[in-house]
Structure formats: structure tokens, C-alpha cells
Subunit: 248 residues, 2 copies
Amino acid sequence: MHRFFLPPECFKEDKVIFPDDIAHQIRRVLRLTAGDRVFVLDGSNNEMLVELEEVADFNVTGDIVSRKKNKAEPDVKVTMLVALTQRDKFEMILQKCTEIGASAIIPIITSRSLIQDFNKASSKLDRWRNIIREAAEQSGRGRIPELSSPLKYDTGLQNAAKKNDLLLMPWENEDGLTLKDKLSESTHRDHKTIAILIGPEGGFSYEEVQKAQQTGFVSLSLGPRILRMETAAMITLAFVLYDNNQMM
Amino acid sequence: MHRFFLPPECFKEDKVIFPDDIAHQIRRVLRLTAGDRVFVLDGSNNEMLVELEEVADFNVTGDIVSRKKNKAEPDVKVTMLVALTQRDKFEMILQKCTEIGASAIIPIITSRSLIQDFNKASSKLDRWRNIIREAAEQSGRGRIPELSSPLKYDTGLQNAAKKNDLLLMPWENEDGLTLKDKLSESTHRDHKTIAILIGPEGGFSYEEVQKAQQTGFVSLSLGPRILRMETAAMITLAFVLYDNNQMM
């Protein structure tokens, strides 16, 4: 069944008034009609079964048939700090990390990021938010992961350190501690907020690695095979959630 | 450093004669010159450091400086049976499953596969082999995962059952056993050959699920969030290798 996140102003007691863009999608793209049912989400973990009442050109409304809590959200909140990179790759990371279960995504500009222009990156925010919302709808989540404006590397590190209990950084030159070693430490399950820092294609500079370590990030190996940036992002997030029993 | 898989006929004692396509890449694309070094792989886990000797238009040769065994190959052999689907998605699965550590990939035609034409699918094999070889080179593997011609669903199931100790099938309607439950069974680490069956976008038909179960495949849940086909493929492979200590 189709799922839609709607803003708060769309809910009036037991009625739902769909905003124009979703009304268009319902009527013109999905060709649903009165009597069809969809799931509507308020973005705060509430999920409503809605029966379409009126499906007209500038007016699509529905009645809430039942309400329940969404159960797909992980208890552990993982924030992904992702170096800006080429469009396809970055958008794949947004989509896949949303499906897998990230709570927030922060684009960061590193010295080797392919995109260095802060304004250019910020202009993409609407497009990126749509990708994340659609992935959240498709994967059945109860909340839309937060997307922040792109941050400078140092600012990103400091914000993450303030807000998270555990700071992880996969690094291709780390040959000691693996992610699996780190996750098998008995204390790690006390962490309810975890940040994962993902470097760009060319890797972090040595200064960036040092800065991250000084801020409290633990550098980790992902094993003997060299993973591309987007694969490292997905796999690290998936392992952290899996290990915390938040994946399945 | 650049890495190249070469066929057996390219090795003459301590010399390497590069085939035309790679010679072209070395000279014209990468612009390497005599004295530069590359890694050469024979596809059987042997890795050679090679110094380029002659770099001419139809003749690129090198001297083997040292030899070692590649250490990036998992001990557990995982075969991915993947339903044919749209090009981008299928090619992403080939690339990512190679990086993550699959040993073999078998395209299969299910009733809901987007591509039903056997010949059309087979004509893509060269292109798919290149994607896999490049991903194997880039990720530092010692072998190139095998790619078979596309198989019909029933044939794929039967071949997999003959050749593998453990048969796994993520299924979106499975609400009992999770992949994590299955992998936590104490006996599973005795399995050295594992097949993973990945259904198409629209899921398996009920008959297909029954057939797979009758052939010995265990249907598994991947948790509360609904993963796209390509995400399910990568994540399942990664978890199986991780759990077997083959990922890190």
C-alpha cells in the first residue's frame, strides 16, 4: 500500500487533507480513486490507515480509519557524517542509509571532497530531502531522517562529538582495530547515539584523521577488501544497527 | 597502485606481457611509463608486483619484482542468485557484491523479473564480466567472482542446492525467523558454501517461495524496514560474511 509523510497542518481530527503535490500524485500518477486506502504518516512515528473520500483536481481528502505506532524505527540513533562527493554516489548514500535506518545525515566538506562549494551544495538540499522522504516512505519508516545543511569538516566533527555517545570512523589505513572488534566490546550497547564519519573517494588527509581522533572518533578497519565510499557508508551503518539488534 | 587481472598466457617465467586492452589502458589512459609499478593478479590468489619494462603502442611488458598470496579472499564461498532486473540496479548488485566478497553470481529469471528474455540477458555477459573484474581489481581481491549465464528459476535453485551447504532466501513476507536468528545458530559456522537467493522488485510469487523452500532454502526476515532488492542483496551478503568473521 502507498505511504505518504504529511506535514502537521494536513491533519484535522479524523480527516486528512492532502497537500497539492501529493494530491497530484494520488490522482494523476497513482490514479487512485475514492474508497482506495493509503498509509499516512505524521513523521512522529504515528501511522494512519486512510480511506480516500474525495479525489478531485485541487482537493484530495481522506478519513482516518485506524491509527497505530510505527515499529520500524531503530532505538539507536545513528548520524551519518558523509563527505560530499559526485551526485550519483551521494544520492545513493542518502537513499540507502535511509532504508537501512540512519536517523540523521550531515553532508560535510573535506579537503578531498569533490564538491568544495558550500552554496552549490546547499542548493541541492530540497532535492536531497525528497530522496530521503521517498526512501523513508518506501522502506516503511516512521520518521524521516534529518538532513542538515552541509557543514565544514571541523564544525561537523565538533557537533557530532557533542551530540553522540560513540564516534566511529572507518579508515582504509587503519590496520589495528576493526569495526567488529569495536562492536564486540561489551559496553558499546549502552550507546544510544552513534555518529559514523565517512570520508570521500580519495580518503581523509592525514590532518583530518588526526583531528577526528582528537575529537574522539575511533578509526576502524572494515576488513581486507577495499570498499568504495558508498559501500563503506551502507555497510558500517548496517553492521552498527545489526550488532545493536536494531536491524532485525 | 593499479591492479590488473591477467589471463595465464600473459605470464612467461618472470615476465608479464600485457594483453592489448590493458596495454592500451596503461599507456593511453593511465599514462604509465617504463619503471612504473603495478600489481598483477593471476586470478588464483597470486599477486605480483610488476615493474613496467617496455611501454610501446602494441607492446607493454614488465618484470615480476615480487610475488605474494592475496589475503583478501573470504574462506566462506557465497554464491548470489540474483533475479534479473533493470540495468542500473543489476549492475550495482554485481559491483557491490564483488566488493563485499561474493564468490559467484548467478543471474536468474523469475516470474516477476523485469527481464524475461534469456537471449537478451545472455548478450550482456561480457559487459557484466567487465564490471565484476573492475570491482575485483579495485577492491583488492585475489579472484574474480564467477558469473554464470542466466538460469531459469528452477535450474538455479537445483544447482545451488547441489553445490552449497546452506541455502538462504530473504523474503519480505517472512515474519518468523530473521537472518540474525539463523546466523546465531551454533552450527552454521560449519558451512563453507552458502547460497543467497535474491528476489526481484515485485518479490517472489507464492509458488516460487514454495519451490525454494522445498529445495531447501530457508526463508528469512531482514527486519522491520523494507529493503529494496539491491540493498537486500548487499546487506545479506555482508551480514553472512561478517558473522563468519570473513568481513573483518
